[in-house]
């Protein structure tokens, strides 16, 4: 077990660097979880769009009613109306929707004239923008219905009717116990952790392996009577130790930050998934590190692999927003299956055995990936025993 | 005086690396700085070059104070440090040209100098090689070429022969003598006393950050009481009496001290006295069966040993 012991010593020697990597990535996960910018994207009706209304038609009941209705469903924002301020506000997402009600709009609308329009400035393709559009349409549709049929022209009454109708809302029942907010943050934490773990594994394992890749050390090891397979397996074992420690540290960190979270069983499932993913990524890193000789290549590998796999596997952008071809490609990465397993745990209801099966399958697929990587790594290290140049 | 160092004190934390270190080197000398590993040789060199801060003392090179921005002094210095200092991505020629270019800006002048340096260290066939492809000895020679191409008046070599094969080592030593013959003053540090004895005109012996003795090799050897060393290898039949025989030899008037180990006895003579004939006489007289007897002159190691009680190199200390 000499190689294994040396491996552990090298890990200890590299501890400061490892701690920096781990620290940075724990910081990542923490911040992403705390800021949770994805929550709104997923459930856009729950969000209140940040909206600014410039009402140049104030005093007119239909226009005032629109302003009042929108402000009741949105977060009102005050902005200056010059073009620079508007651009700034949109740029920094202080506001996502600016609506200008032009003077005379109410009267024109009542007359059934569509030449005078509301003027919207928004972030295209943002969910909040789409939702704001829907709110406006609802108001105008209702107003149009009342105005076409109501000859009394009691605008105050019409607006009151609209308001009353638009206050109606369907009742939502959640069949699972997912309302637990702590848990959805936890899920988010573990999803994003795919990125941290991948990067830490590649950076860490390649740092360890770089010590063994040095020309003279490699030659000395290769000329020793230790069998190449035993040599490689001892290295894998040393790195295994590292990957488990890293996964445990990251998992324990989640407990520190979500102390009020109580569903211990589901947390254990998350941790199991994390451990398997960490080991799989460790073996992938072990494979990659056969080609990593310098610090510059090391950071490149970490970046490309971690960012690339996470982007297509739905770590940064939710899986349901990715195209089917992207997801098809992603299913050839362990990251995709890790994220899937996390989602299965998220949606796991008390009785459903379906998720548990999917969860287990996702774990098994990750293990298959690990074994495949290991086989390739061993074949490569066997082939690299002899080469034209050293 | 090319080099004049006075009263130099350098500390690394609690460790006193240079303890009132003094050194003067004259024009045209090959000056050897000899001391065991960790005695402060490299520190002394780095202070001399104004690379290291020191707490006390002064360094003068070519009669002027050496400072980090004393560029006119630096122009006349060449250094060869114990770690090979070349760029991996540059070829043999380019490396020498690069470093030479820091001293000589004229391109055609430089080309001549670089060519001269290449042939001087015998790397003609390796001009386009990258350092990685050079053997240890060739790499050392490249390292030297980079330090001397600009024809410095003072060349400082800090253990240039560490881990070098005998052939390259001889080439390097011959080269140093040749550079000296061409007019350069040389400072040469080493813990290989043989090398220092072989080429240096003057030697300073260092221990614990101090110069404990300096002078020509023979002056140094004269400073100690030990003269020649006699080794007697006893035959099997006589080994039982080895302790008794050793005692007897030590009573001879010219013998300074004796030691024995297993099968042989070592006797040290006093300076300028010869004991060989009296030793043989004694052995014959007592009918002690012996094989070889040989006699050696004192080395710098003996000088160091007598002055400090230590050997210069660990591996010698048996």
């Amino acid at each position: 077990m000499q190689v294994f012991k040396a491996c552990l010593k090298i890990i200890r020697h590299n501890l400061p660097s490892m701690m920096i990597f781990l620290g940075v990535f724990i910081a990542f996960v923490m911040m992403v979880t705390l800021f949770n910018p994805q929550a709104e994207a997923v459930d856009f009706t729950a969000s209140r769009p940040r909206m600014a209304i410039i009402n140049d038609d104030s005093g007119q009941p239909i226009s005032d009613g629109l302003e009042e209705y929108l402000y009741a469903s949105a977060t009102p924002v005050e902005i200056k109306s010059d073009s620079d301020s508007i651009q700034d506000a949109l740029f920094f997402r202080d506001v996502v929707y600016i609506l200008r009600i032009p003077a005379g709009f109410g009267e024109s609308f009542i007359a059934g004239n569509d030449s005078l329009k509301l003027i919207r400035t928004t972030l295209p393709d943002s969910y909040q923008g789409v939702y704001s559009d829907q709110l406006i349409t609802r108001y105008l549709d209702a107003a149009s219905r009342y105005l076409q049929t109501d000859s009394s022209r009691d605008l105050q009454q019409t607006v009151a009717n609209i308001q009353r109708d638009l206050d109606l809302e369907a009742e939502v029942t959640l069949s699972s116990h997912e309302i637990d907010n702590g848990f959805s943050s936890m899920i988010y934490y573990y999803t994003f952790m795919a990125y941290s773990l991948t990067a830490v594994m590649i950076l860490g394992v390649s740092s360890i392996m770089m010590a063994f890749q040095q020309r003279d050390i490699r030659l000395r090891n290769l000329s020793s009577p230790v069998k190449i397979s035993s040599y490689s397996m001892q290295l894998v074992l040393g790195n295994f130790f590292f990957s488990v420690i890293a996964a445990i540290i990251l998992s324990l960190a989640s407990l520190v930050f979500f102390q009020d979270f109580a569903d211990f069983r589901r947390w254990l499932l998350l941790v199991l998934n994390t451990l398997i993913f960490a080991v799989t990524m460790m073996i992938l890193s072990f494979l990659l590190s056969q080609f990593i000789r310098s610090r510059a290549t090391q950071q490149v590998a970490a970046n490309v692999v971690a960012l690339g796999t996470c982007f297509i596997s739905g770590v940064f952008v939710p899986q349901e927003m990715l195209g089917s071809s992207v997801l098809a490609a992603a299913s050839f990465t362990p990251t995709y299956w890790y994220v899937r397993a996390v989602r299965m745990i998220q949606h796991m209801s008390t009785g459903g055995s379906n998720e548990l099966t999917s969860y287990t399958n996702s774990l098994l697929i990750q293990i298959v990936f690990a074994l495949a990587f290991l086989t390739v790594a061993l074949v490569i290290s066997r082939q690299r025993r002899q080469s034209d140049t050293v | 005086m090319v080099v004049k160092i006075e009263n130099l004190v350098k500390r690394y934390g609690d460790l006193l690396a240079l303890d009132h270190f003094e050194l003067s080197v004259k024009q045209g000398e090959i000056f050897g700085l000899l001391g065991p590993n960790g005695s402060g040789k490299t520190t002394a060199i780095l202070c001399m070059l104004a690379l290291l801060k020191f707490s006390k003392g002064s360094v003068e090179l070519f009669g002027r104070e050496m400072r980090p921005d004393a560029y006119d002094i630096k122009r006349d210095i060449g250094i060869i440090m114990q770690n090979v200092a070349v760029y991996e991505e540059l070829t043999v020629y380019e490396n020498i040209d690069y470093f030479c270019g820091l001293y000589v800006s004229d391109k055609s002048d430089r080309q001549a100098l670089v060519e001269e340096a290449i042939s001087f260290v015998g790397l003609e066939d390796f001009r386009k090689f990258y350092p990685k492809k050079l053997s240890g000895g060739l790499l050392r020679r490249l390292n030297i070429a980079c330090g001397i191409a600009h024809k410095p008046k003072l060349i400082i070599l800090d253990e240039p022969t560490v881990a070098v094969d005998p052939q390259s080592r001889n080439k390097i030593l011959e080269g140093i003598v040749e550079l000296n013959r061409q007019g350069a003053t040389i400072i040469y540090t080493s813990h290989y006393m043989e090398e220092v004895e072989q080429i240096c005109s003057r030697v300073a012996i260092m221990d614990k950050g101090k110069v404990i003795a300096s002078g020509t090799t023979s002056e140094l050897k004269n400073m100690i009481r030990t003269g020649e060393k006699i080794t007697i290898e006893l035959l099997d039949t006589a080994i039982a009496d080895i302790a008794k025989t050793t005692d007897k030899i030590s009573t001879l008037p010219s013998v300074l001290s004796t030691t024995h180990n297993g099968t042989s006895i070592q006797a040290r003579s006093e300076q300028n006295r010869h004991s060989l004939s009296s030793v043989i006489q004694l052995l014959n007289q007592d009918s002690i069966a012996y094989g070889r007897i040989f006699c050696e002159l004192p080395t710098l190691n003996d000088v160091f040993l007598e002055m400090t009680g230590k050997h210069l190199r660990d591996q010698q200390g048996v």
Binding site: I20, A142, S175, N303, G308 | -
Partner: protein, 376 residues
């Protein structure tokens, strides 16, 4: 002397094949991955049919209008829903097995049962809300005047809103990713600066000791060498920009001069920051390189590389981050060039980069000028 040092440092950088190859290739690789991941991101395909169920209760059988609406929305190729009529227990079972997004229990107040919240669930909720609101309106109108022709009650007001874009170019979140990618590529130029410091400092390398005793001012040597490092890195950024504009098709606005200027400062800032990290402190090369990697990743993260919205959340909570995060300055310079009609924002970012550059540069100069070392 400039030419001599510059030439050889450039040669040395260009010969460092592995570093060079990856420095040029890796932002391009990432950009390609980004464009792949974003292919369908903004496409309608996301909103494919939502599988739902409606509970077949009394309210359902009595409510003709609701039946009609559901049927209409569930028919045709571009149907919003794919609907099944089920009992509560059947629907529950399908819901638990994720076969349907949710189900509706008809009634005077529609009830929606979903398993967890999400985009499709939100769409179901929006539909139910709108249905209830519209039917309330229609009911009120019919109550006031039973003779009303319901057909006129299907108004189309979607044309009542017109867009007035905030600028000639629409703000686009995918651009944030690409701009952040450029910023990251700039910060990773730090490795070139790192390399030059390693080569120049006597306490870090044997080569450093050798150049330190040469008769050329050390600081000047270092600056010459840094120019070579910068040139290589700047070239890699230009290649990246060409790839983004020509192959991926990212719009940077048309002012090529300004784009090059922003790349110039961004690249130089990145190279200098790498040098700074290497020049301060006495840690080993491994630790310093870890700091450089960690710093670059963290700053890129804050500028929106992984999740675009993080950029705004961070700036909102810590307004200072907008100015002290170099990655943010670089990506904003590009973004403002693309997005703002005036140049004011662009220049603000450029000036901030310059200030940053000056601070980093002065610290490096202060440390590099220290000409004697306490230990080597």
């Amino acid at each position: 002397m400039f030419r001599h040092i510059f030439y050889y440092r450039l040669l040395s950088g260009l010969r460092d094949r592995q570093t060079l190859f990856w420095a040029f290739l890796f932002p391009i690789l990432l950009a390609t991955l980004f464009s792949f991941a974003f292919t369908d991101l903004n496409a309608d395909e996301i909103f494919n049919q939502v599988d739902i169920a409606v509970i077949e209760n009394d309210a359902w059988t009595q409510d003709q209008m609701f039946q009609q609406v559901i049927n209409e929305l569930s028919e045709g190729d571009d149907a919003l829903f794919s609907t099944q009529l089920l009992t509560v227990s059947q629907a529950d079972e399908l819901l638990q097995d994720d076969q349907i997004t949710g189900y509706i229990i008809p009634g005077s107040t529609l009830e929606i049962v979903i398993k967890y919240s999400g985009m499709r669930q939100s769409m179901l909720k929006v539909f139910a809300d709108e249905y209830m609101q519209t039917s309330a309106t229609i009911a009120k109108i019919l109550q006031d005047d039973p003779q009303t022709d319901i057909r006129v009650l299907m108004p189309d007001t979607s044309g009542m809103v017109e867009d007035k874009p905030a600028s000639s170019s629409a703000p686009d979140n995918t651009y944030v990713y690409y701009y952040a990618l450029i910023a990251m590529a700039c910060l990773y130029g730090g490795f070139w600066g790192f390399r030059e410091v390693m080569a120049a400092k006597a306490n870090l390398s044997a080569q450093g000791a050798r150049v330190s005793v040469s008769p050329v001012n050390k600081l000047r040597q270092f600056i010459y060498a840094m120019s070579a490092a910068f040139l290589i890195h700047f070239a890699s950024i230009i290649v990246l920009l060409l790839y983004l504009t020509q192959i991926i098709g990212i719009n940077f606005g048309s002012q090529i001069g300004y784009i090059v200027l922003a790349s110039f400062f961004g690249s130089s800032l990145g190279v200098s920051i790498g040098a700074l990290i290497c020049v301060v402190g006495n840690h080993g090369e491994g630790v310093k390189s870890a700091i450089l990697i960690g710093f670059s990743m963290l700053m890129s993260f804050f500028s929106g590389l992984m999740i675009a919205d993080i950029k705004y959340v961070v700036i909102k909570r810590f307004p200072l981050m907008r100015w002290i995060n170099p990655a943010n300055l670089i990506s904003d310079a590009f973004y403002s060039l693309y997005y703002y009609d005036t140049m004011q924002r662009y220049w603000q970012n450029i000036i901030a980069m310059l200030v940053f550059q000056l601070i980093v540069g002065s610290i490096i100069v202060m440390v590099m000028r220290r000409q004697r070392y306490a230990s080597i």
